[in-house]
Symmetry: C3
Subunit: 157 residues, 3 copies
Amino acid sequence: MGDVAARLSKLGIALPSIAPASGNYIPYRLAGNLLFVSGQIPRIDGVEHFVGVVGRDISPEDAYQAARLCALNLVARVYAALDGDLDRVEACVQLRGFVNAPEDFRDHPAVIDGASDLLVEIFEEKGRHTRTALGAGSLPRGSSVEVDAVFEVATKS
Amino acid sequence: MGDVAARLSKLGIALPSIAPASGNYIPYRLAGNLLFVSGQIPRIDGVEHFVGVVGRDISPEDAYQAARLCALNLVARVYAALDGDLDRVEACVQLRGFVNAPEDFRDHPAVIDGASDLLVEIFEEKGRHTRTALGAGSLPRGSSVEVDAVFEVATKS
Amino acid sequence: MGDVAARLSKLGIALPSIAPASGNYIPYRLAGNLLFVSGQIPRIDGVEHFVGVVGRDISPEDAYQAARLCALNLVARVYAALDGDLDRVEACVQLRGFVNAPEDFRDHPAVIDGASDLLVEIFEEKGRHTRTALGAGSLPRGSSVEVDAVFEVATKS
């Protein structure tokens, strides 16, 4: 078992299964050593969670959990991209977090911390990333949060 | 004639001409093998099309066409960047699609499919990309859709 | 003194000091020759400036200054990432500018020009970048503008 897999096990974190790609976009794409991952919403097994506007329908605390779930979906896609070898992750390079929020919402960083914290729990120092957190005008399926990311991965040995 | 140029011809797709860069930003920038392309709106020959809010002023079907037009503008810029040799495109790596929509809009993916579908028509398997679709609060010139992208390209032989 | 440092001095531009990283995200991350920088708001020494909605609370002219201030913060982080050697910047590759604006706002490009213009003042031709300007539904701390960027940097000699 790899170091990261052992850490997941110790933390009691199970990665969700991901549906096979459908349509003309794909869950991940490797370009050189950069692994791009598509935007993730808080969906598990095809069911959307935390649907609604943060600060009105969804509490900031629940939105934090929504962001964490988005990040869990990111990691599940990284897992698929690397044939399960999460130890090949050198760094989470960039994370963008979009919060479905009313115009006067100000606490996007606290929401997106849910994604950032999970990445560091799983990848430790390598999980620390640059980040942009902001408010979307609306999100797919009415999701409260959407997150995408770019990782740096080691060349397959 | 290259493979992609032949496909464009067969599909009856003509790339729009692009205006020379103005101001301090540029239409594309190559960094290593990654080609970054600036955000595109549904503009042809300097005229904006599909102006308005999707789901209110603009139907989802028209918004699909708007996204397709944005992607056509992306490809025109890739064409310019590669001196016309679209066969150098190894992959469309990342596409971000922003929809000008009211707060309760939920169908961003169906809109941005207009961009995704065009890229796969033109580049086939290489055109399949990671994607983030979301709602903007507003868009330049009142556009209904804006799309940007990163491509991976082969080193010039 | 490097070329860029000399230019900063000549232009009378002082880079703001930046706070040490806190939390699980970081101000910059180098992956290969790409330097990713986290989203910046118009904050100096921990104080937010230009807070509010552009076109209502904040004039377009002030929003231009806000974008300029965001870009100054970007450059301060590049400076930190490169141990002060700004001559290692080969290119600003990609800039994304988010404007906190009402639904009918159309002039995002004129606002984000504040960031673009500063980057070209500092880095000249190397500062010209691809760009996506759009409207956010809301922004952290109520900021009027947020900007992030990717730079290409020369390998340390």
